[in-house]
Subunit: 194 residues, 2 copies
DNA sequence: CCACTCACTCAACGCTTGTTGAGTGAGCGA
DNA sequence: TCGCTCACTCAACAAGCGTTGAGTGAGTGG
């Protein structure tokens, strides 16, 4: 009875193993970058998290910067749609996501954007997209972009306070209650002034 | 004609010189911490900014951490008062300050709070005070503290977007316009729900 | 005027970091 | 089965960091 070459689990080819290792490194890097930021995360720690030699990380990504860049490249889709009211609810839902399990890549960008120039640029681009997309769906007016920017940055601040700083006043409140309190204020912001 | 001992400018005593040097170091440290954050700021850079040997910085402050701690210890006074409407205006005025020349100490805390545990603790404490103070002045209700926290963190996010990330949409807008757009939304947040 | 204080510098330490080049052994193709 | 590929490890490097202990010389106090 000879074993069939590919019936069940056993034989990961060499390329597959390489891909799996690379993915494991990337996942560990994302988690560590999200938790400690760019500077405090060492290549050695990433390698240890993946059960691998530090040199292998370099062989895969060339540079710590490149590793970071690839780790955070998974931008959330910008909110679309045309109805302002639905848009507010959409924003609050995405806030719900933000207050819960924000993906590690986004968390890493958020954490490093104030101290790392590259992360700052990445954040600028991502937030800019969100702002433009929201501004396009707002009632037209000169200050649509300003209003959109204020909504988005306000949400960034709330997320930071809740998720990264863990302010008691925010952390103890259930997400739906936060959304309920925020809804009228956001509606107010998304309507043009008289 | 013998010189009088203390008539005019000429004679800084040894203690005065020491104090002046210490102040110069502290000022340089504040500026660098505000610009680069805790990690990216080196003792050597602080010493160079003060025109001094790195060892002297250690002699004055003992530790990089201690230097940082003393550099950021100048908390802004929390807003007080009892009238909610006046309070909103007060907040917007302080936002005005925030959008303009935020003091280096505050900027340093803001920049490092996401990557440095000590800075995070400092920020938690300072923001907590602001939140409590604002909550006390809000119309009483179960969620006064939540509302206050949302207002304060939203302002933090706006400040970050404007000052540290320099988002074009925010940076190009005059401060008074931002305040005008924000006012109704903040009023909405500071009133209790029906 | 002299001896001492002390603000300040010099040179070096130990450590951690990102990064590199030489090796090694399991697995693939022929 | 042989020989080569290549995923991976080992050991080390150079640079930069915070930090330290021994000096040094201007300036103070008696």
């Amino acid at each position: 009875m000879t074993d069939h070459p590919e019936p069940t689990p056993a034989a990961p080819t060499r390329v597959e193993r390489r891909r799996a290792t690379r993915a494991r490194i990337l996942a560990g890097a994302r988690a560590l970058f999200a938790e400690r930021g760019f500077e405090r995360t060492t290549i050695r720690a990433v390698a240890a998290a993946a059960g691998v030699d530090p040199a292998l990380v370099m062989q895969h990504f060339g540079t710590k910067r490149q590793l970071f860049t690839e780790a955070v490249q998974a931008t959330a889709p910008a909110p679309g749609g045309s109805d302002p009211d639905a848009l507010v609810d959409q924003l609050l839902t995405s806030l719900d996501i933000k207050l819960g399990g924000l993906p590690d890549g986004t968390l890493a960008t958020l954490r490093s954007m104030l101290t790392d120039p590259d992360a700052a640029e990445h954040a600028r681009r991502a937030l800019g997209e969100q702002i433009d997309s929201l501004a396009g769906a707002l009632p037209h007016g000169d200050d649509a972009e300003l209003r959109a920017a204020l909504v988005v940055t306000a949400m960034v601040g709330i997320t930071i306070g809740h998720q990264l700083l863990a302010l008691p006043a925010l952390h103890d409140a259930p997400a739906e209650r936060i959304a309920a309190v925020l809804r009228p204020a956001f509606k107010c912001l998304t309507q043009e002034a008289t």
